[in-house]
Symmetry: C2
Subunit: 497 residues, 2 copies
């Protein structure tokens, strides 16, 4: 039986014996070969192998399980689903239950009402394809959420319900990248779906470095410089990605930063792509402000400004990753272009209906006075307060380690500490053919069972080394992990200094 090999270290040459194949590494789409996607790369793959080893027992390791901090997958590490949402989903899938008396013994009254309302929107229930943009009434609900959030109107015709934010991002980049010279500005560090898709679509990425010392804030001079350099090289910059709250860096951008950014994009003729999937994950004093609000605040001159904003059911407090629910709002986009994007969506028929329903639910949770409000709020607060405490604990623990520094964790669900690596460690890494941060992350994994992602997967300033870890696991486990993290760091430094 053939087994899938790890992508790591794979050359573009076909393996011996593959000569007779139609599809080989050297004859397949080279954009796919070149594409990199770190979140599920070498370190997580190694972690899965260790997990398997641990499962078999008699492993001689000092830990009993791998702590998967590599991916923002809350429910895989113990976060509970919000039960009201799940009740509505279940009832929408079994509409015959809505008419039975016994249902009230297992489901809350308002979940039944909500499911009844939702299914009334769907001619064929959850088993039929919807409109390719998504169910109209759910898009209306999204528009209402946006309007309530920003204080400015939103049009359901501008909303696309999608399989997570990922597929929305892919659609927009597919429309935007028209030639090999078309370039997209992305933050460094960034979430690697951007670099991966730009590479897949044969566009060019232009990194703009976030200012680590300024809490990963924007540096507009740096951005302008990168843009000008790219133009001088003959590239055609067309779009700019901002991730706020930040993944992987956990920052929240200020109003002034966002305003400068929007003005910059308008001046420079760039479409702005705002990844706002962590808008609910804000733990510090700085509030989340949507780019849409900043654009509208800027007045009629910006009515035509081209902005696409992404949101998801996978993050926030909901954490429903497996649902693959999400949406994008396309503001100021030419109607002819919108028609082509709709056609692109149509070719995949529609996004999954459970995901669409989850979008509706997490943007419009139970309201005060409704039957499930109290239990929903209790569950929700428990998750949110836990995330907030953990963000603080991880921040404090990391900064207490010599040679490790971490900016305030104001948003999202990640820490992106800088690790000062000794020269001997860097040489040892080179010898093994790893980047120094991969070498460090592999050592951390081996010693502690903590699975983190090397900073090089997200991009980082030359000569600096980071890792990304989520602060999603249970508080007890995470606290213990921070202590073994510190032990490993000491051990590592002793070994390589």
């Amino acid at each position: 039986m053939q087994r899938i090999r790890s992508v790591k270290g794979q050359s573009r040459k076909a393996r011996p014996g593959a000569e007779s194949k139609v599809l080989r590494v050297d004859t397949m789409n080279q954009a796919v070969v070149r594409m990199q996607y770190a979140v599920r790369g070498l370190v997580p793959t190694t972690a899965e192998a260790i997990q398997e080893e641990l499962r078999k027992g008699a492993h001689g390791r000092s830990y009993d399980e791998v702590l998967f901090c590599n991916i923002g997958n809350p429910q895989s590490v113990g976060q509970k689903p919000l039960s009201y949402y799940r009740e509505v989903l279940a009832l929408a899938d079994c509409p015959w239950l809505l008419e039975k008396e016994e249902t009230l013994k297992l489901f809350s009254k308002d979940a039944i009402d909500r499911a009844r309302l939702l299914t009334s929107y769907m001619a064929g229930g959850t088993g039929a394809y919807s409109h390719s943009q998504g169910i109209l009434q759910i898009r209306q609900a999204v528009a209402e959420f946006i309007q309530a959030r920003d204080g400015y109107p939103s049009d359901p015709n501008d909303i696309f319900l999608t399989n997570g934010a990922s597929s929305a991002i892919q659609m927009v980049l597919t429309a935007l990248i028209a030639s090999r010279k078309d370039a997209i500005l992305i933050p460094i560090p960034q979430y690697p779906i951007y670099s991966a898709l730009i590479s897949l679509l044969r566009g060019q990425q232009i990194g703009y470095q976030l200012d680590e010392e300024a809490q990963w804030g924007l540096d507009m001079d740096e951005m302008k410089k990168q843009l000008d350099d790219a133009r001088q090289k003959g590239l055609n910059p067309r779009g700019l990605v901002v991730i706020n709250p930040g993944n992987p860096v956990g920052n929240v951008l200020s109003y002034d930063d966002l305003k400068s950014l929007v003005q910059f994009c308008k001046r420079e003729g760039l479409m702005l792509l705002a990844d706002e999937v962590y808008q609910e994950n804000v733990y510090g004093s700085r509030p989340f402000i949507s780019v849409k609000k900043v654009v509208r605040d800027l007045g009629p001159d910006y009515d035509d400004f081209e902005l696409v904003s992404f949101h998801s059911t996978s993050k926030g407090i909901t954490g429903e990753c497996g649902r693959r629910g999400g949406y994008m709002e396309m503001c100021g986009v030419d109607p002819d272009v919108m028609a082509h994007v709709l056609k692109l969506a149509s070719s995949q028929l529609c996004s999954n209906l459970n995901g669409q329903i989850m979008v509706d639910l997490c943007l419009h949770p139970p309201k005060p006075g409704e039957h499930s409000f109290a239990s929903w709020k209790e569950e929700r607060d428990k998750i949110f307060d836990g995330l907030k405490r953990k963000s603080k604990m991880v921040y404090d623990s990391l900064n207490a380690i010599e040679g490790v520094s971490c900016q305030p964790l104001e948003g999202a669900m990640y820490a992106f500490p800088k690790i000062e690596l000794p020269r001997k460690a860097i040489e040892a890494a080179e010898e093994k053919g790893y980047t120094p941060d991969t070498f460090y992350a592999l050592s951390l994994l081996d010693y502690t069972g903590i699975c983190a992602v090397p900073g090089s997967g997200f991009g980082q300033k030359d000569g600096t080394y980071h890792i990304r870890l989520t602060f999603l696991p249970d508080e007890d486990k995470l606290e213990k992990a921070m202590s073994t993290f510190a032990e490993h760091h000491k051990h590592f430094m002793q070994q390589y200094s």
Copy 2:
């Protein structure tokens, strides 16, 4: 407010007023602009407008509702979901119900057991990302299904669970099309996702005409001729698509046809893509035979043969389109290539978990002796027998009309009748800027409320005209529709002869 315009008749020129936009029809990805997708094109869009008109009342039309026969969306036109599947889905979403006594009053015992088993596979339940290929145990269940069906082993590592078959098709074509000269052979007529994605990926399509008079069978000489022509033009044919049972033509290929096809692909160095999403929809005497079985029957010389087969939860008797569940099996594909395809899947994290569960359910329905078997079988037989009767009724009705002919409907859920159009109709169509079949389909829609898709959206022999209609609606409605279809045809012929 901007409104999305219809794609129809759209030129590549930007509309007046769009000059200031970054993203315009003339600056966006032209592969997206060129891409066509008929199933949700002009006729369905017009149908939606008429539906809206009907809803408002006082319309003066002879019908009260549009009969959407344009898309294989069973549950949107009255097909009931199979309740056992939905029970399991609901319980997997609300695992706390599994422990409650009252649950037995609303859910069947074996659905509870099945949900308990399924959730035991999922560390984070339905709310967590799974492995990017899909949950291992569900892939094992898929492999068992394939093995039982074909009598040959299947490897779970060769299976990818995907958001419907569409996203699987997109992944494979993305890997396969490496340059503008790379070409894929597709049947004519075909399901337009193939032409759409080949166009989007900037590859070339080579149509091989199915032989209408031979029940839409394969014509190997024609196929060889098309292939040679393409090579002479400097194209590099890399893959061949077969759709069996056929969409849009409703045929089922014979063992001999499939064998010739596999041998042809091996001889010519083509990867074979087998779209088998209608494998359960077989109504005639000819059984469905998977390409995988034919390949394995051919013995060790074909062990290395590169075959990707697609299946889906959207069709069959299940008809769970909104679930976006599906899988592909990649046989004989180079392991290095598999690793890159897995990376491609990873960039979208994973397919939705409800869709993954639905794959498991519809491949392994309740067995004889299990609590839900009788009710499941009753529901299933009702749907299947209905489809079978309707296929016969539609076939008979269409062939009873002078100037309309339809090949036997042995599989899938569509009729693709040939319509002989008088010269005056063709001229009238040209005058209005429509293809003759679009003109006919629009006239049919206007007169009867039946929404069908013009054959030109699927491809057809020059000088022939077809439409595709599903036979999914309720029998009563469909019977009435066939009668108004005949009336319209008579009316149309009187008008244009």
